[in-house]
Symmetry: C2
Subunit: 671 residues, 2 copies
């Protein structure tokens, strides 16, 4: 472990190095923010825990350049099979449904255990920064001074950190795995990727500062320290919600079975013995979520300390009969009680933030927890980074709570409904009012796909989401309009690119080298805002003149683009302009475009990676980007994207004053 610098001032301190904390750290690494991240556990996660990766999460990973690692290693789930009792009460496959609806994303839902996902983050942090996770480090106190939100030089947060001794850190680690400890035998290590073996060995090494206490001054703190969040408890924020008596067990096993759909995602409702969800995983593993109790409330409590993998397996065998299921190898197991709770507040004075399990807990079966948690800090990270760098106005930080608390609430509501449908006994017939209608289950499941994929997220109006509406009407009631004259973009220019949602992806071709790209591949998470110029048919002289005029306006010294970019920095450092035109590629040269669309840099020459075309590729077909984006192929439009790929503003090529007003609502001038 690298000892922290003598100067104990940091821009951002992240507490908790699970997926939410690592996502926050990853933003900081890409934006060059001085950051520390601490975790009380002695090592990272190696197996078990959360496993589902939703489409939107994969898009985000890809924007950080490690989506392909998850995509390659993960098990892909393509089909969901629903199994229900038939009229004779015999288990039958009643339906097959696509796991991810067609056309939602270029990714589909996949499954990979949390340990690998943490590994991707850690490798990425190492590649892009000097940020390392400091393990065995526990915060002991936190105080927040009352300062001006705009005082960029202030470090208003003081945190005392306890560096644990080996004895203190390792038990904390084994506690995480305690349920599964009796099955983590020799086989356990054989399932590890090689790079984690080193982690286990290093875990035993002593922190040179072990046993000491340290004081850190921070501008911002992000608490990603889980359901029992220490940071949340210090702030005194409540978790609101309820829990049921339904108890579920989880087994990660290599199943030996004659059940035909063991490599499909399955929802199995037995006649009277409860339900099983089958989640096929990487490395021949299958996760089974197995219902252990069959009533919502009032049942005599299970003695949870008595739950064993053998007991959970017996429940599965009963539910899945007449099929047989056994295992020799169990990778991990646990048991949990279903409950749904959401944090009352997500931030204190926009200086201390909470994210992930610290502000929402629910059942794991929809594969949402880790995804929504990472998406919390994906939403928060760039905002904190750009404010810390003096690029954006601190008022944008209010949009974290307004945007994400609503998502958490939606998640809780969905989970409440879905869990009860899943845990209930199937109705024997339409008169069986206590039973669950399997038709309703299927409908709920299918309707939920847009939500569970993460693609359905639609942020409300605010200073960074220029759409009609009252900014106080959404989320927590905070005014996030920034100033009185709120700008609204022209949503009418496309029915597909929706202000408040993430930019969809279709194939475009690089003008300079004819290479096809999914457009999202160009939208890297590097902290830059983006102006997407749909330049339309630039072979048409009139359209070409419109595009040229836009280039002129963007290049003027009083344009926001010039004013927000330091004089010595490349012009695309803060806001990048990307162009997609619709004329035939071979009839257009890069030099037909104004320099604003492909800047020239001394010593480096022209930029060949800014202008794209909607045309036929040599090997990947035609992306039909204008058609798919529903943008006028003659006249085009402008779309502004936030650093997290969400659509902020839209307008015609002439709407540059409106665009300038939009940007000036939060972008600070440096010139």
């Amino acid at each position: 472990m690298v000892p922290p610098p003598a100067d104990s001032h940091v821009d951002v301190l992240i507490v908790g190095a699970g997926p939410a904390g690592l996502m926050a750290a990853t933003w900081m690494s890409r934006c060059g923010i001085k950051t520390r991240i601490v975790d009380k556990r002695g090592t990272k996660i190696f197996n078990g825990q959360a496993d589902g990766l939703q489409c939107r999460t994969l898009e985000i990973f890809d924007s950080f350049d490690f989506g392909h690692r998850a995509w390659r290693e993960a098990n892909h789930m393509l089909e969901v099979c629903l199994w229900n009792p038939d009229e004779q009460g015999v288990l039958r496959r009643s339906d097959r449904v696509a796991d991810t609806p067609s056309g939602l994303s270029r990714f589909t839902e996949v499954v990979l255990h949390q340990g690998r996902i943490e590994r991707f983050f850690l490798d990425s942090l190492k590649e892009h920064s000097d940020i390392t996770v400091e393990r065995g480090v526990l915060p002991e106190s936190i105080t927040l001074d009352d300062v001006d939100a705009y005082d960029r030089k202030a470090y208003p947060i003081t945190v005392k950190l306890q560096h644990l001794t080996e004895e203190e850190a390792i038990p904390a680690e084994s506690k995480v795995h305690s349920n599964g400890s009796d099955v983590q035998n020799g086989l356990f290590r054989s399932n590890l990727a090689k790079d984690d073996t080193e982690g286990i060995i290093n875990a035993a090494k002593k922190n040179p500062r072990a046993g000491s206490l340290e004081t850190v001054k921070a501008k911002y703190v992000i608490g990603c320290d889980g359901a029992h969040s220490w940071v949340r408890r210090q702030l005194g924020f409540a978790m609101e919600g309820e829990q049921t008596d339904y108890i579920w067990g989880v087994l990660d096993i290599i199943p030996v079975t004659d059940f035909p759909d063991i490599r499909m995602r399955c929802a199995i409702h037995s006649e009277n013995s409860g339900s099983v969800m089958v989640i096929p995983r990487e490395n021949k593993l299958v996760r089974l979520y197995i219902q252990l109790t069959t009533t919502e409330k009032g049942e005599a409590q299970y003695d949870r300390s008595q739950i064993t993998p053998e007991m959970i397996l017996k429940s599965a065998q009963k539910i899945m009969a007449p099929y047989k299921i056994e295992y020799t190898y169990c990778d991990w197991w646990t048991a949990y009680q279903i409950g749904q709770r959401v944090g009352s507040k997500f931030s204190k004075n926009e200086r201390i933030f909470l994210a992930g399990d610290a502000v929402h807990t629910h059942s794991p079966k929809a594969g949402q927890g880790m995804n929504v948690s990472m998406q919390d800090t994906y939403n928060l990270g760039w905002k904190v980074a750009l404010v810390a760098k003096g690029i954006c106005d601190p008022s944008i930080l209010k949009t974290y709570q307004s945007e994400r608390r609503k998502i958490a609430q939606d998640l809780i509501d969905f989970d409440h409904k879905f869990s009860r449908l899943f845990s209930g006994r199937p109705a024997k017939n339409i008169l069986d009012e206590e039973g669950i209608s399997m038709t309703e289950f299927k409908d709920t499941f299918k309707k939920a796909q847009l939500f569970t994929s993460g693609i359905g997220v639609d942020y409300g109006t605010s200073m960074i989401v220029a759409k009609e509406g009252d900014s106080t009407a959404q989320g927590d009631g905070t005014n996030v309009s920034g100033k009185k004259t709120q700008v609204a973009g022209k949503q009418s220019l496309s029915s597909v690119i929706k202000i408040g949602t993430r930019m969809p992806s279709f194939q475009v071709i690089n003008q300079a080298d004819a290479r096809p790209w999914q457009f999202q591949e160009i939208l890297k998470s590097d902290g830059r805002w983006r102006i997407i110029v749909f330049a339309g048919n630039i072979k048409d002289p009139q359209q070409s003149a419109r595009v040229h005029a836009l280039g002129e306006t963007l290049s003027q010294s009083e344009s926001f683009l010039r004013r927000c970019t330091p004089a010595e920095a490349p012009i695309d450092s803060i806001v990048e302009v990307l162009t997609i035109h619709s004329a035939p590629r071979q009839e257009v040269e890069l030099s037909d475009f104004h320099e604003a669309f492909h800047p020239f840099q001394k010593g480096i020459g022209w930029d060949y990676w800014k202008i794209y075309v909607d045309d036929m590729s040599y090997h990947e077909g035609h992306g039909q980007a204008y058609k798919n984006y529903d943008v006028d192929p003659e006249k085009g439009c402008i779309v502004v994207l936030r650093p997290d790929m969400y659509v902020s503003w839209m307008g015609d090529l002439e709407d540059t004053v409106d665009m300038q007003n939009f940007f000036e609502g939060f972008l600070l001038s440096v010139n």
Copy 2:
């Protein structure tokens, strides 16, 4: 550097850790062969050198699980632009051609410098074995005892290895880069991937055995030690061929230019000043091949020691006028004289082998050198490994020379023709007989694409390529038929799957989990032979019975499958059976198939990764595998693939005796 084991006996000693040597080592790592690989250079390559990766090379990389790394990092070349003088002698773009013809492969030609490719191999070796490259190690003598080729216990080769001191090793390294040393300044390191920085630092560390001499006994030696091969010189084998006076310069620069196609691959013929080839590369780099002399023979020799990057640039400027080209950053440069030579023999007694530049040298402009070199050892590696393991008969080793020397000869012939067309002055008109016809150039270029992609390789008949013909008629005249009654497969069963060529790839769907795969993705390079059962329409009872009968035959204790597989090993250890059927996926269950097609293993259960179907996928369309492979969708057929993916034998489902005869020609019984 890990000190070599006290026991200095190895199965395989590889001399030279360039791409050819690393490919050989990679096979050994996947097959568990005790191997050492030594290189006299103190460090690996960091920039410059070879850069083109052809389709077939990418398929091979993918079969070793690192194709995606090259594919992601490389620059993709999609279009070739031909530039020629027009009637007024002014340079014009005359043609645009697809760089890789459609449908040839799932990959297209890409460009990435040799240092990264070596990195992928090194990472892969580390992940799969304990083989590490021993640098600064130079062979001093080699002797080969006369032993029975079938004596598996013998170590007939004795090699003395000199461990160089730091002073000896590092000058050898800097010699490699000597041409470019004056431009490898601070910018040089900025172009390095982070993981190579460590390599540079470690290069300075001393080999603990430096200065000492060591004797190694080996079963096989593979000499991949380049154009000046020490191994070849010890064997006394000649290089046959000639060279021209054409001198070319190479610049790897970030160009500052108004030439419109600088990010396309271009062939530029000027009126009188020679030619330039433009190869756009990763990291904004462009490689220029620039002709420095314009006559084939007899011209006054350039003083090659006087060649500088500035001089090469001036030539480029002259050729590319009226366009301007400059640079601030040069990554690497060199100059070379065109020649074409091929080794007289590729092996001594099938115990010492030569590969790569050690047996063929030619001009670099067709991007063939590194590819053909790696494909040499891709052909050789599995043969040596399977013989060393006692799985295959040593007589298969003769096919290395018979198969690869013919390829080398084809390459030399192609390069001879292509180089002259490229270096010659364009004809002014059809009466200009000394000039080169630009139409002929374009035609040659297009015709060559099948060859240069590496996909065109078609190995002649031999004991491991069961097709009609005389095995002595191809290559070097060696008899590689193995025994008198040579088997020939039924080529008539498909016009697309051709005996002697590599198996093409189309999309199929896993029966058990509905996941789509490119079929080649299933064909990992792990040393296993494969039987691909095109099971046809197994919903048809008659066809189902045929398939079942095949399963029965394969499962009998006297089948070659049982006899070649050690009793305690899984049945798919030596020969893997993979099935593709054509019935609708949702109407078929895995249990409809004989166990031979999805083996059951105690403790692990059924194998869900053996049976595939040609059906519609949820998100990736329909692969139309039967149609694309041109296999009868009702009756199917059997295709046998070598461990390197080349088609060996084909037959009907009933041709099991013929298949058994084929396998018994080289597969050794262990039971």
